[in-house]
């Protein structure tokens, strides 16, 4: 067997298998619990908040397996936003399952006009490129906004994403609000540079800060140009971030969304260009996210995604109403070409 285990129909319950393409309707019972209805069957899905960066002990993984056995003959799944999703055959079971999960410390929630998910990358926890620690930010945000996951309504669907650096593995630009780490120090060139593709490395720099020193078989990073984006660090192991004092931070990016519902797919915009890293609880970051959510909740029409509301009232009013200060980094000069192209995108 090469590649993923397949066909997928070998890994699904017969109640699902016989209804592929035959579901007629779904109904939301309460946050996190959905009823799926076909002509002959009904099943329930129960959606669970994952831990930051979806990290689990094998102990918990086995408990998940136990719950799958108990309620759905050993079948479960994970959603595309890395939340565990369980199944039940009756509403009563679904509610029991929810209780079981909650007693394990795993809240059930999401769907409709709620927070659906908080995706996050590995950050300091497991990655070599992090400028900020995504898991601890995701946890701090989760604690602050959980009521929107399993209780209070928002104007529309809402998602959060946290990534430790511009690579955006945990998502960034794509969620309604994203937090992304930004390096602000200049990387340094080490011995290892010999092993890198010099030309390729120079080409990767978005601002042309890398000067090729062909003769010396090395490169030089022009400090006055470098914006510390870290692209070269990821591409070549001979370039690393290493200064005595770290003052990295993260940006708050607002208004991403994927779906076709107007205004269609959107790349988030940089609303706060820089907040210093402040573990464990990142007060200012959390406050800024809450401020945005609460202003949106108060002002938006029902069904209006965050960016739809902002597009209606304009960015000027967004800053006015949220009280978030405006900084010049939010103005785009550096690479308008990209800006353009990304906004263009056909179809949706």
């Amino acid at each position: 067997m090469e590649g993923p285990p397949r066909p997928y129909t070998e890994y699904i319950h017969d109640m699902i298998k016989r209804n592929i393409g035959k579901w007629k309707e779904h109904r939301f019972v309460e946050p996190g619990i959905m009823e799926h209805i076909s002509d002959n069957d009904k099943i329930y899905t129960i959606r669970v908040a994952s831990t930051s960066n979806a990290r689990y002990s094998t102990d918990t993984i086995r408990k998940f397996a136990d719950l799958a056995d108990k309620y759905f003959d050993g079948y479960m799944r994970f959603t595309g936003a890395f939340n565990p999703e369980f199944f039940a055959k009756t509403l009563e079971d679904a509610k029991k399952l929810k209780k079981d999960l909650e007693s394990m410390g795993f809240p059930v929630g999401g769907w409709e006009n709620h927070l659906w998910n908080i995706t996050s990358c590995a950050g300091y926890f497991h990655c070599a490129l992090a400028a900020t620690d995504a898991p601890s930010i995701a946890k701090s945000l989760g604690d602050a906004v959980i009521k929107y996951f399993n209780k209070d309504e928002l104007p529309a669907k809402f998602t959060l994403a946290v990534s430790g650096c511009p690579s955006a593995c945990g998502g960034a630009y794509l969620a309604d609000i994203s937090i992304v780490g930004i390096h602000t120090e200049i990387p340094i060139v080490t011995e290892n540079i010999k092993s890198c593709d010099l030309m390729g490395t120079a080409m990767i720099c978005p601002v042309g800060a890398i000067q090729l020193k062909q003769a010396e078989k090395t490169i030089e990073i022009r400090e006055n140009l470098c914006i510390g984006c870290g692209l070269c660090v990821g591409a070549c192991s001979g370039i690393i971030f290493r200064t005595p004092e770290k003052t990295d931070g993260h940006a708050v990016i607002v208004g991403g969304k994927a779906s076709s519902i107007p205004p269609g797919t959107q790349i988030g915009r940089v609303v706060i260009p820089f907040i210093p890293n402040d573990p464990p609880r990142y007060e200012l970051t959390v406050k800024s996210v809450l401020r945005i959510i609460e202003t949106w909740k108060k002002e938006a029409k029902k069904g209006e995604r965050l960016i739809a509301w902002i597009e209606r009232i304009g960015w000027e009013k967004f800053f006015e109403k949220t009280g978030i200060p405006f900084f010049k980094q939010s103005m785009d000069d550096l690479d308008l070409r990209s800006l353009m192209l990304l906004r263009e995108g056909g179809g949706k």
Binding site: M1, G3, P4, P5, R6, P7, Y8, I20, G21, K22, W23, H26, A49, T51, R55, Y56, T58, I61, R62, A68, R77, P84, G105, F106, G123, Y124, H126, A128, K139, S140, G142, D143, S167, G170, A172, Y173, D197, M203, C205, P206, L231, S237, K246, S260, I261, T265, Q266, I267, G268, P279, P280, R281, G303, D335, L341, L342, G345, G346, G347, K348
Partner: protein, 393 residues
């Protein structure tokens, strides 16, 4: 031996992260052998304490296995992380989960990453010397590792018709078939940079294909959506009006209580479907849209994917993907994502390279200056086409 200061202080910090109602990854981690002291120190120092160690090569895994090297061996060890494919749609069985847990206990640090943002499992913390054995033994259980390097990364799809009535095609099955045909590209790192294919069964795009797909396939349709009249009847006048006013193109009208959708104006935005309580569904004349160039970073920052083809059958994508792969390999610079390459050479040229004629749907908006070239042959061709379309009046 006493812990250094940064560990002591760091452990204080992470205690805080065990509190609160959101599930705590720290609480989970404490049940594992993951080097929590290293992480704690990094939070205190506000500095990443891992460095990249490149890839460990393993027989039968040409893309290699990702290494994590500690920069503080005194407080935490280096290790590697292995990515594991899930079945399509991320459906798993309890057996599969227990198997995973067993391997994580035996080879790793009793931690499972379930699942990554690109929808693989990961087993972290496997020491270098155990990798070979792990891979051999793990494969014997019917599982496969991979999805790293400059290759076709894990292909992800929405759950599709397995759970969702909006699905225009069987997205998880499509992924199964994709691997049957393209597995070599996933296995061998022959690309300038990674390539990702993401697939959604309808324009709601639960797979975020339009944002994250170097190549994206999104199911859609042509003309009006499908109205289920008997269900529509159950809606109140107010709900109907909401649907009418919600349509961004004014395609929906209400006359004498009868809802009507002008297919000609529908842009398949799904707004009416979303508002309809199950009484409006994607239309019957399915179309499958192939997009290219989405990603979140690359050299130029985030791009949304751009539409290049409307297909009648999603499987027509296979040959186009083959062509795109070849064009990508031949034209991209090292570490250049597909979207950045297309940006650099221009969409017009990219269409030429993949042998597609330009269509209005390739753009969202038109050019706003006249700084372009028109050759004598093009003039003749344009004149002919204009005459043909305008002449007959």
């Amino acid at each position: 031996m006493n812990d250094p200061d940064e560990v002591v202080k760091g452990l204080e910090i992470i205690k805080e992260l065990k509190k609160g109602p959101w599930p705590s990854y720290i609480t989970e981690t404490e049940k594992t052998r993951y080097p929590l002291k290293l992480y704690a120190a990094s939070l205190y120092l506000k500095r990443d304490l891992w460095t990249t160690g490149g890839y460990v090569s393993v027989p039968g895994v040409p893309t290699g296995i990702l290494m994590r090297v500690t920069s503080r061996p005194d407080i935490g060890e280096s290790a590697n992380v292995v990515r594991v494919y899930l079945p399509s749609g991320n459906f798993v069985t309890s057996k599969m989960l227990r198997n995973l847990a067993d391997f994580a206990d035996k080879y790793g640090v009793s931690m499972v990453h379930a699942i990554t943002t690109s929808e693989d499992f990961e087993i972290p913390g496997i020491p270098k010397e155990k990798i070979r054995d792990f891979v051999a033994e793990f494969r014997a259980t019917g599982m496969e590792v991979g999805s790293t390097g400059d290759a076709f990364r894990n292909t992800t799809t929405c759950v599709g018709p397995a759970l969702c009535e909006y699905a225009t095609f069987d997205t998880p099955k499509f992924r199964d078939d994709f691997y049957n045909r393209f597995n070599d590209y996933a296995k061998y790192p022959t690309f300038p940079h990674k390539l990702k294919l993401k697939i959604s069964g309808c324009p709601l795009d639960c797979a975020r294909a339009s944002q994250k797909g170097d190549i994206a396939i999104i199911g859609s349709w042509e003309g009006a959506p499908l109205i289920i009249r008997e269900k529509l009847k159950l809606l109140s006048e107010k709900e109907m009006l909401e649907i009418v006013n919600g349509c961004p193109t004014g395609a929906i009208s209400l006359k004498n209580g009868e809802l009507n959708i002008e297919g000609d104006l529908c842009t398949q935005c799904m707004k009416c479907v979303k508002l309809s309580k199950g009484s409006i569904l994607p239309g019957e004349k399915k179309k499958y849209l192939l997009y290219v160039g989405g990603k979140l970073r690359g050299k130029k920052g985030p791009f949304t994917a751009k539409l290049v083809e409307k297909m009648d059958d999603p499987y027509q994508a296979f040959d186009i993907i083959e062509r795109i792969i070849n064009v990508y390999i031949e034209n991209a610079a090292r570490k250049e994502r597909l979207g950045d390459m297309i940006f650099r050479i221009g969409m017009k040229n990219f269409l030429d390279l993949i042998e597609k004629e330009e269509k209005p749907y390739h753009i969202k908006d038109l050019r706003t200056n006249i700084f372009y070239k028109v050759s004598e042959e093009e003039k003749t061709k344009m004149l002919e086409e204009l005459k043909k379309s305008l002449g007959g009046e």
